[in-house]
Symmetry: D3
Subunit: 281 residues, 6 copies
């Protein structure tokens, strides 16, 4: 390749003139693969014995859990520190306070694990009850992509609420790639949430979802228009308790409320509120 | 982390009080990664020379095939035994009969390979004929996600019909994650089936599909309502021969029949039967 | 397994009678995993410092880039040669010319990198401006699946235009599996293109898209009917500048034109042209 | 290769006529790689914090240790069971008792770890004191091949004494390959044992070594003659306390005793006893 | 690092002025790791069922063997071709004949496998009979480094005799690193050869060894002086049948003959012939 | 395992009472595997094109070299910093100066590469000239374990001279394990040094070796007695120019000098000086 040197010079020149090069942050970006493996470790903490073939008994479970908590603690603190420093640098905040923050967030997450477990066991039960094809709760925990997306969401949401930058988003894009389900970590989702099949589901940042809600594949809970930095904070709809939304329904807008107990048909396009079922009758 | 011990104790306590822990079955659940690699091996048995870069000639093909059949036989028997034992234990059946069952199912699958190959070559031809962008059958076998999902379905369906627990579902969720196409192994699908693009396709457990059917991305063949253990066995639609269903169409209900030769428009929402084309004219 | 020999003989017999066996081309098919790793290398060339944790400064960037260009050059030439030879053999062309062609195409791609970078930086800016949830361009480059699909498309499209067989399609199916976004490498797509969420998007081979176009998840730009080798070349729609298409819209047909500045609602089904916004008013 | 089939037939024929084929035991041989990784795990249990880069504090050490003990327990029991069954089968013993034996041996080893640690810390101190080039005990534990061979010997010897077949030998050949030091697990070696450099050291099965003994590279403690099943049990020499043996010395014979406090010159060839230093004076 | 560019320029300059750079042969040198893995495959062909945990029965052994022969055939032909071409280029021979040669040598090796097996089974028996510590022939095949070195020697020697360049030496250095036993592939070694312990054994290129010879660790069969291209072909000793040589003995010189039935003491230094035992009496 | 908890408590107790636990330094010990991979990278810098199968031409060599220098620079600085900090901590030195030191040492090494290359090319030539079995210098560079040990020694010695702690020793033990050749990084060795076969060679810390020296396997250049911190600095022998030492010779003592041009017989035991050849005559 006679002209390779010229080709290389041109590419280097384009780095100078066009940008799009990340020289200084390489170190401070959280590592995607490490975040994914921390996520798997937290999943194993939440439902021990389902995701790895490691044998356990009641006694070894204690040590395994202790060891796992320490490993998650130190690995997540490392990634969280990088994410917070990146943010601090951008916002010119005091780096000392940044360091403290990472450790606090990680401890808070570990402290919340029993609560998160309780909610997720409810989600698994809702899936088992809601899917005639499910043969046991174990099968649901073992193989349902919808539950896997919800596990990731509940962890990422907790971290998002604590203002941890980048990592919640990396987690949600990781599970999006794996399941086709895209739940923004900012969304607020109540107990006993069930997504069946799930490919193509999108749940936007300011969505609010009540209890016992059930979504099918391809459902979008999105924004009506794009208004970067201008429009109100709530851009995505509110779904009240006991709502079922069938496949490929699209519900848009921050003021759109789907009232309690309603069923939304598949392929529907909804940009206005729907009253609760009782009221509607 | 000063309070780590307390955090760990709380998590362990939540295991006691909340459950969601799988202590005793770790060993008897089939291993997901092993099932995925058996699946790839069966794919190679069905279309030799496409999925690996292993060189072959007519002579070495014989040995390769023999060795592959033995490897699949012993690996699948191992996973199948675990799945059947798990089920036997749940249903308190005689474990001895359980053991025999695994081996019988695996031999039956290997015996059916020539037949499955015949059907899948038909599926590949249908894809080639149905997609103007396809340049050769080799390209279809090499790269079409729709065909990959159908290969997996035909294998998983065979095992499902033989009452093998868990494994058919693990196979279908594996390919769902990879292609975005979710075909329940219980569905009955005729010859020359073609799914184009495929992301978001969902085909429910009791769906019946005839010959020469063609689906586009986002098509749902689903249930109308959820009736765990109460409603009749057939919850998903019937698609007769020579039907084409365009993107994002949603067809629901166990009594819904799409008649022979019909074309269903994209984004349509269908919960009642559509008569056959000839009759409809 | 007493009858294993018979099982194997039957499978071998089915290879003879049914075909679907690839004996001779094993060597000449491009290797899927190698193509995927070349693709990642090109991504790193385009946005250095985002995809690997490799540390860099201004000086080491020069050597890293030079080394990367050489590595991509030799690896892609190897795969391209296999793809072209496969095609030459099918079409019985002169193999000597085939060899030359591979090297020419690879040099042309490397030569075009500065231009492709310019276009992709525009795409990243459009994503940042178009998504209220995006906090910085770095976050977009780091984690948006839509941008990753567009990067792959712009590389695959370049190679498709140079008549390189198989490889553009292998690239697009690779990213399809990873993001759920299926853009045919033959499509023509203008600057500042943005796909939000993206799962289920399908863009057909003869689609033409203008500047500043924005698509949401589940949008199909497809063909109206299948007419293998019979119908005109343009089977997929034209989308003019500044068009926004909401989730799950389906737009079909080679003569369908969505006029400049239009907004297409979610879940819509469009098979006729829509006039430009100004004209329409 | 026209005659490949004939080549293969001839090889298969040689399997029939010559033997040297292991059909039935494949399953019951302990796996070499698994034994090696159990050995590394036990090393980490003995000297925590030296062999892996895993971070620890006093608290996490507890959980890490508990988890490691459980992991070693279950992995070693698995390999030990295979080794014992292989032996039982050969000797036609009752398989039920065989199973019990494996678990008993593993528990005994874990119970002995504190004692083995005490002896090995003495060995490390002897190395530090005996080598002017050593800068700290940490350096010795971190990098001395002699200590690594002694750690392996002390573990393998414990298992050998408990009559565990095959595994002690697999352990000693593993470390022989890594360090060039070949200590038969049957040898009896006292406290504060030090091997400097070590390549080529051979210590035979019935060797007895006292306290504070120091060997240099290439020392052989071997048998005088070979007398399979005929000669007395003690075929290798006895080395009393406080003996130093310089490089490449060869000491042979079951009745050869090197008396307390003696120094044996390098390259010497000794087949008769050497009196203790005091007596000798 | 401010001066890195200068450092790099100086290194590049030293490439120009000093050489030691291999630009053109990178491609034609056989790959060391590939040669090592072919060697392991041949070992498995010779003693099936010992080196891998792959399960077999009499039937699957046939397919496994056939597949293994094909795999070895194609992989070794590839490496052999590179080695022969490298040699042809150096000696400016006709490349066409070079190609043919590689395939011929590989077929000859595969044809000789039954014979090589016969000899190696004799070596294993000699080890079992010669080592009182050996409990079974299986244990010898499974774990004796001496036998592993002899297996490699017998394969490498066969290829050396057929004038295959580089590869025999790469094989012997590979096993040298692993066992500490360095047998030049040119040596001629008779049946029932046994090396005990083995670390430090060196057997030179023109050594001739008879039947039933037994060596201990550290034995050197070497040259008396160095006479590059000047001295006669035979530089290393001859060891007649039934000789035993104890640890660290050094026997040098092309005219030195150790007569039949002799025993050579450990640490001895021999540069003159020793008459046969019967004659000597 | 009923008593596992007790077993674990006993092990933990032994950590408290016996020590041998490395809690705080885990982080600051250089990582052995990383050091080994840096060593391989430096080898590739010294003899490009021999150790990896990466293809190169004159142009790509420039970029490859630049990239390699940067990679080695940053990886070695990282490990060196850990080693120096560990040492600083032990000696209670100012950590700031410690940091600077690491970078200085690494730059000095990179600056010395052209000189080290020159010396090593001389070593390779000496091996080629000294071994009648060697067919080309390329073969020597490609496969001689003696040269590999010398390459490692020359790098480790440079770092040892610059007072870098731990890493030179980790490097020398790494190559000791691989080749059986144990050269202390403190030894001083002149040009054109050749070790043939090499297993069992030991060269002590204060050895001084002149030019054109040649050693065979099993040669020890060692200390006469052990005198930790008491005896003079020079504990190992001096070997003058043009000396040849045959297999398994043992030469001991800091005042022992082997005079110029001498040949030392195999298996000899030397603890007094030997006059130069000319003088001796």
């Amino acid at each position: 390749m006679a002209t390779t040197d010229t080709l290389i010079q041109n590419i280097l020149l384009s780095y100078e003139t066009l940008g799009g090069v990340n020289l200084t942050e390489t170190d401070t970006f959280p590592n995607k693969e490490d975040v994914a493996s921390i996520l798997l470790d937290i999943e194993c903490l939440i439902f021990p014995g389902f995701k790895t073939s490691q044998q356990m008994d009641r006694q070894s479970l204690n040590y395994l859990t202790g060891e796992r908590v320490h490993r998650i603690g130190s690995a997540l603190t490392k990634e969280a520190t990088k994410a917070i420093l990146y943010d601090c640098k951008k916002k010119k905040k005091d780096p000392v306070k940044c360091y403290e923050k990472a450790e606090k967030i990680v401890i808070a997450l570990l402290d919340a694990i029993p609560h998160i477990r309780k909610v997720l066991i409810g989600d698994a039960e809702a899936a088992f009850e809601g899917d005639p094809a499910a043969r046991s709760i174990e099968e649901v925990i073992l193989s349902y992509p919808g539950l896997e997306a919800i596990i990731t969401y509940r962890i990422a949401h907790f971290l998002f609420e604590k203002d941890l930058p980048l990592i919640p988003r990396i987690m949600s894009e990781y599970i999006h790639g794996k399941t086709g389900i895209d739940i923004h970590p900012g969304a607020q989702i109540g107990e006993r949430f069930f997504i069946d099949h799930g490919t193509g589901v999108v749940i936007g940042e300011t969505t609010v979802i009540g209890k016992n809600v059930k979504l099918y594949q391809g459902v979008t809970l999105g924004a009506l228009s794009v208004c970067k930095g201008l429009c109100g904070k709530k851009r995505h709809p509110t779904i009240q308790d006991n709502v079922t939304i069938y496949a490929n329904a699209t519900i848009l807008g921050g003021e759109t409320v789907i009232g309690e107990g309603q069923t939304i048909g598949g392929n529907s396009w909804i940009i206005k509120s729907v009253k609760p079922k009782k009221v509607a009758k």
